[in-house]
């Protein structure tokens, strides 16, 4: 990811800032020019709550360039409470502990480093909901 692209997408990566469609009221993530639900343009910025559930998942053993340091790591399709489905890494969990339907929450973590001299890229990941753990304890 170029420095410019990293900078351009910082709000969505750090805090799951998407959009809500003015016409059909659907939440949209990532933000885009046209609503994928009703094809109307110009959407309003909207920060998603970051809570959702695991819809499906896999484990990456053979990672793309730049992610070697993290493998093996779990990646999931997370169905957000507001509707959108996002693909993201899961963190603070072993791959064999992930379950479909597991409640998760967004955290901002280091996605990768562009070498020793490049920038550090931060992004959303999901982990088991901490509040629930606390209440259950």
């Amino acid at each position: 990811m170029s420095v410019a692209r990293t900078w351009r997408t910082r709000k969505q990566r750090y805090a799951l800032v998407g959009e809500r469609c003015d016409y059909c009221q659907n939440a949209i993530f990532p933000p885009r020019d046209v609503c994928p639900h009703c094809a109307e343009p110009a959407q309003k910025e909207f920060a998603l709550s970051g809570r959702g559930t695991v819809y499906s998942y896999t484990t990456v053993f053979d990672p793309p360039t730049g992610f070697d340091a993290f493998a093996p790591y779990p990646v999931a399709l997370v169905k957000l409470d507001e509707g959108p489905m996002v693909t993201a890494q899961l963190t603070d969990i072993m791959p064999d502990q992930v379950k479909i339907g597991m409640p998760v929450e967004m955290v901002t973590r280091k996605l990768n480093e562009q070498g020793d001299e490049g920038i550090i890229v931060y992004s959303y990941k999901f982990r088991p909901q901490l509040q629930r753990q606390a209440l259950a304890a």
Binding site: R10, D92, V107, L111, Y122, Q133, A134
Partner: protein, 357 residues
């Protein structure tokens, strides 16, 4: 010339306090006996039980973001009203590029805010808090966010490797009338004492062995605390809790005893045995554990220590607003209870101690 004697206590023009606080401790724990297994072969008299270790995808920026989110969840204010984001750490991810702008962006505090990184070994977090008190207390800002956070590194096999840990806290300073705990006064006590240091471009810190005790930790911590007690006309018994910087379990226990505090006043804020020394986060994360259980009217004395060397002392009084606020975010003990034990090999991988090229 007439001699003018200023008060040594730091007190702002307008009363201020803590309007939100949040802790963060990573999930991984390295038992001290694991370090002993690899390096010394002896596990008698270990300085702590275990320490918190940052995961592969964690650093001072990501950890500060989570602690700050917890502080804002408790304060329930519009982040755009925060005029300063100050992060104290000795493990900022970049040598040049602020951690604070990353935190400010993630919390939607940008763009009308101060942002800077602070450095004073383990005292950087409370140094940022002092500045936030002044910034709000002068009337320049309504809210200022101060953070003490570290992913501390110890040289493999060194005494510090048992304790150098990851974690910290975010403290949002605001007007006293909105506070969960008001800040009555603070004091700073600083001298040039080289007990611990790290030169530029060097990976691991060096320290003066036993020199880190009497002339460094004990001298600064006890003087800052004593001056606070004398100037306020207080006795140790007036405080329900005391939280001291905690590089190991013994130092804060002994310093508290020297000052006349009882073990039960120290206990709630003494986390080092379970999470290690979180450096710039150490005294502040201890303070968050105290705020998690304190009752309105309780007095709390907090004293940090940073090598180099100095201490900041704060005298707090908990208000009724604490009861509603504490449940709005995970408590410090929730993070401590969330625990995955790792072995030394996993730790070596997570902390980048393996030669990869």
């Amino acid at each position: 010339m007439t001699e003018v004697k200023d008060s040594v206590l730091l007190r702002p023009n307008r009363p201020v306090g803590i309007v939100g606080y949040g802790a963060y401790v990573p999930i991984y724990r390295l038992p001290a006996r694991e370090v002993a297994r690899i390096w010394s072969g002896r596990d008698a008299e270990l300085p702590i039980k275990e320490k918190a270790v940052a995961g592969l995808d964690e650093d001072t920026a990501s950890m500060s973001i989570e602690a700050a989110r917890n502080a804002l969840a408790r304060a329930q204010i519009d982040p755009k009203r925060i005029r300063a984001v100050w992060v104290g750490s000795e493990s900022h991810p970049y040598a040049v590029k602020p951690t604070s702008t990353i935190v400010a962006e993630a919390l939607d505090i940008v763009p009308l805010t101060q942002a800077a990184d602070w450095e004073f070994a383990c005292k950087a977090g409370t140094e940022a808090m002092q500045a936030a008190i002044a910034f709000v207390g002068s009337g320049m800002a309504t809210y200022a966010l101060s953070i003490g956070m570290d992913t501390a590194q110890g040289r493999p096999g060194d005494a510090l490797e048992y304790t150098a840990a990851a974690g910290g806290a975010a403290i949002l300073i605001g007007p006293a009338e909105e506070s969960l705990a008001t800040i009555e006064a603070s004091v700073s006590y600083v001298t040039d004492t080289p007990d611990f240091w790290r030169r530029a471009h060097v990976h691991y810190p060096s320290h003066g062995q036993r020199f880190t005790g009497e002339p460094a930790y004990f001298h600064h911590v006890t003087h800052a605390a004593q001056i606070m007690l004398e100037e306020l006309g207080r006795k140790p018994a007036d405080y329900r809790y005391v939280v001291l910087h905690q590089p190991n379990v013994k130092f804060p226990q002994r310093a508290a005893k020297l000052l006349g505090f009882k073990p039960e006043q120290v206990q709630a804020g003494l986390l080092v045995g379970r999470i290690g020394n979180t450096y710039a986060g150490s005294s502040l994360v201890g303070m968050t554990a105290v705020l998690d259980e304190a009752r309105p009217g309780d007095q709390v004395l907090v004293v940090s220590f940073g090598s180099g060397a100095g201490s900041d002392a704060f005298s707090l009084e908990v208000t009724e607003r604490i009861e509603a606020a504490r449940g709005r975010a995970p408590q410090t003990l929730d993070y401590i209870a969330r625990r995955v034990e790792i072995d030394y090999a996993t730790y070596a991988r997570m902390r980048g101690k393996l030669l990869m090229k």
